[in-house]
Symmetry: D2
Subunit: 354 residues, 4 copies
């Protein structure tokens, strides 16, 4: 029987991609989508790609139908989930949170970087971090709790942390980083990463034909990546914006210890073993580098690996769709895990080729 | 049981979109994909969007496995299908031809516009024209022939003819065109319409940030549109190129006779009745105009309608994905019709929303 | 001695392009640029392309320095110029108005299309229409008035009217249009044409990879084109949006009378004679069609011509930069004419090649 | 009197931008432009942005008119300049070489990275490296030699080396790099950087909506950057491709020594002092980061600076136009220096604003 599903904040870019994924998911039934700003508007009116595909209209966030959903996705700005999640979890729902509110384990760090008090520390302690390939056991525990009838919350990893960590983790966890070494991640995102709000940054005429760095040394995904990779204070992360819709490429420079391998072939073999069980993460061969266009619209991550031997540096490059594996796709993947559905349920395996 | 399927010319843009559609089609099994240029290359190596999705490699066009396919798509340049189709049809296959070789009913017209002799006139006479919403009976006949075990050939309509004719046909067939009146269609296509061949026209740096008309007064889709709409010598068709990948918008100006309706609401009602049975064609409401982004990656067509009352002109605008409803999608739709599969089998109903 | 110059509404897209053109103009000295919204902000802070090029900051619209300017450009929304222009003209300034307020000769037509009362009818009657290639004598008269010390107002033609009229005028004025015939203009613009205001329409993620028509049968440039070409009620004009910054292409379909020429070569010869004196309008050869990229950043217009003989239709295609010849460039060209400066003063002749 | 100028390889992207810059240069007169492939074709026919701006046609490389030029730009692939430059210099010309043939001081390094023998070692020893802000004295010496009537050769720095070195040099030369520290430069280029040749890489449909790294750990600009910054084996350089025409952004991560400053304000002050005399390099303020759109079409470089204090890393970001300061602009700047013309002669100071 289909699982009743709600999406809060469904009019934003991550939210609307969730709408698409849930609608095509064989085991989920989309009951309610909310947007306070667009309450009453048909989804297909705001996003005409849904003409003929759904008659749903946006409801407001406080619509009581949400409480009857077995599965709820929260695609809301940070601090908003703090107010919504505890009640939903207490009511027994499986809550998949795409906001930043439950990602950082330490509420002090949250308060430093997000300039807001964490008002749901109790739930934070029980929250599951949603990056399935790197923390599979956490999702197994959440699935067990769900099976016992408990409400659960999964805090999905952010887009930059996902790509950057997938690129670096197999090397970092193997102990290949030189002691005290700093990992440098330069990442580039398409403009959907800047959100739906119309602004100078997202104006076509300012984004088109332009490249820029932003949030340099201050981006809020920094502590999240440090937490995932256990690199306290040893990560330099610089995000950039480029003129495309979807796609995120993270180029991660990992300084290699003296006993780490230096040949790409061995490193690729190690990465492939590390991701052996994954349906979504694909490690490319020697001399191959990922393209974001090859993962757009999917939940896939492609990783390319090369070594600068003279500088003893591993260059690990990961491409994802920032709205797919970086947001809505990962959220559905986490839901599949908690609900014990097939990992690939609801996903296309191939990207649109061109 | 799955229908064994082959795609000839699978490395081109229409061909590779067919690969994607056939792989996800519940009733088709992709047995062979061919490309003389790339024979031996893995599909996922040339198009990395297929990494993890298929292990198929391109075979050459003369691979004998083709002859065992129940269903064969020909995504080849014009004149190439002339040589391949007769043998496949004679062998009992259902051939869905995306080339221009069997679209024009009159071989003399073909020879005028394509500067090539038509060497398969016998098959041309039996060929079915593939534009299901406008010529449904032809596909019913082809399905009946297929059921009798006969080979069949469907010549799918081209991208510009599809969008232009879907926009104009309900008005034209209602007899609304002023006697002797000329229909003006100005259409704009994304660059995938120019094909995979690297050239000055398809070079990023020449196509980016540029708009241009091409093939003015000489484009080969002109006689095809005239044939569909029965507008002998009374069509002016001008195609344009714009900097995007997928998408085709045709703005069709239909001069209205004195007894034709002039209010958009009535015209929309007529169009909706005309397309009432279609899963793919959607007629928008008063004041709404289609966006190509809302149909990208799908087999959908969106139509918007407005009237310039002073000039008594209907402006009918149709948006399709030139590789979807304009090529590979329409081909699969035609295959579904001939094989008596559900019309929507293999298709997503919603486009990627952003 | 340099002519003191002010730009009102300098922070918009047409305004800021004027800033660039005036700064590089050998005979003009930019004294003041205004923007109520950005008053106090440095130009180079809002538009970093001016870092190192000017230290000017935006002033407010009511800054008294404006009144001391010999030359004032108004790059303001319609109705705003109605309030500003009369005082400036009365003060003896040469006012070059880029708004729509003084373009339509008949205030009744203005009030119909712009839903606003025309409050400066006296000035409207004396205003000069600014489309130098088609109305050169008007500018000669304005120059004479200026020489006599009188204030003058030039109402520059809009972007779509400029491209469309340059394409059609030589044929229309030659009497080649079939009696009662309707001219169909389908035009495509880059997103700078939609202005600086951040909105769903100008959001990168909605404009990118999309084509659409807008303002169908209702666009306010329609009566202006009809006025220029004297085609009362016999023009169908449909604007479209495509994903590029600068560029406007108008494809104009002119139905030819029985005594009009049908061969492209003769028509091109006529057009070249018509534009013989122009520094900016270039008529391309047989088989050549214009590209907007070839005129971006310039004041040039390129025109290509072809004939559909069977339908007796001339297809005249004109490419301009909507911010150049379609706005700021034309404004400077008009200023040059009134001030008796060389026609090309301040302009580059070549576009950036790629 | 105007200086007679020739451009060899004028049909490529750097070459044609040189054509534009030389045509507008007040002191240079463009006598000859060559392209073996397009010999006989009018410049304005291949690049329609020059319609009305020049009547020149491409000549072949061996046209004797080249030998009479006082100034010759070589915009040819590597190894081609090896054969042309010695003769031209011997004839007394000032040769500005945009190829890689005379950039690397050590011919052994050249032969390693370019897989070709260096056949003009004598000239290499006398060649001037063309990156005026970092090596001004070399150009002073070249100017002195020119004044004595000697032929000279300037080997202009490449696009990535220019942006990367301008970002890093003030810190590196101040001794701020931690001993043994590795500098990590991740740079992104527009597609003009990939050249005019039509290929899969430059095909619109593969470049559009895509991000990728390329030449990872193998790009030929690596030894050039190491040479400029004297970072033997301590540079990791990864170039990326993004979907825009012009623009190059290099994000350079410089690990700071214990006695280096950590506050951005002090570092900016140091950089501004370092570049105090430059007309083209602009160091942005605290919290500001450069945009490539703000330098497109110019010879400007914008630099933004930030510090990650916990990781003791300086993040220096430089934006240039890869065809401007990264190629043709720098070449003209070098020519100006050798010929003792004003540094800014021929350049616009402002970029097109939007």
């Amino acid at each position: 029987m289909a699982i009743t599903t709600g999406i809060v904040g469904a009019a934003g870019f991550a939210g609307i991609e969730l709408v698409r994924l849930v609608l095509r998911h064989p085991d989920l039934e989309l009951s309610i989508v909310t947007s306070n700003e667009l309450a009453g508007t048909a989804v297909a009116s705001e996003y005409p790609g849904f003409v003929g595909a759904t008659d749903l209209a946006f409801a407001s966030h406080d619509d009581p139908a949400l409480d009857t959903c077995e599965l709820v996705f929260l695609a809301v700005p940070h601090t908003a989930a703090l107010g919504m999640a505890p009640r939903l979890v207490a009511g027994g729902s499986t809550v998949i949170d795409l906001s930043a509110d439950f990602r950082l384990k330490d509420p002090v760090v949250y308060e430093q970087w997000y300039a807001a008090r964490h008002t749901a520390v109790e739930l934070l302690e029980k929250a599951t971090f949603g990056l399935p390939e790197l923390f599979p056991d956490d999702l197994v525990r959440a699935a067990a709790a769900h099976k016992m009838g408990e409400g659960t919350l999964v805090a999905c990893a952010g887009c930059y942390p996902t790509a950057t960590s997938l690129a670096a983790a197999p090397a970092v966890r193997a102990g290949w980083v030189v002691p005290g070494g700093v990992v440098v991640a330069d990442a580039v995102s398409g403009v959907t990463g800047a959100g739906k709000k119309a602004s100078a940054r997202t104006h076509f005429c300012f984004a088109d034909e332009n490249l820029e760095a932003y949030g340099v040394a201050t981006h809020r995904h920094t502590p999240e990546i440090e937490q995932i990779l256990e690199l306290d204070g040893r990560l330099v992360f610089t995000p950039h914006l480029a003129p495309l819709n979807r796609g995120l490429l993270s180029t991660v420079n990992v300084p290699l210890a003296s006993d780490a391998p230096l040949d790409a072939a061995s490193i690729i073999e190690h990465y492939r073993a590390f991701y052996g069980d994954s349906a979504f993460v694909h490690v490319l061969g020697v001399g191959e580098m990922p393209k974001t266009s090859a993962v757009a619209g999917t939940n896939n991550a492609h990783i390319g690996l090369a070594v600068n031997e003279r500088a003893r540096m591993l260059i690990a490059v990961c491409a994802i769709d920032n709205l797919g594996k970086g947001a809505a796709g990962q959220a559905v993947q986490c839901a599949n895990a908690v609900l014990r559905l097939p990992e690939s349920a609801g996903f296309d395996r191939a990207a649109v080729p061109v």
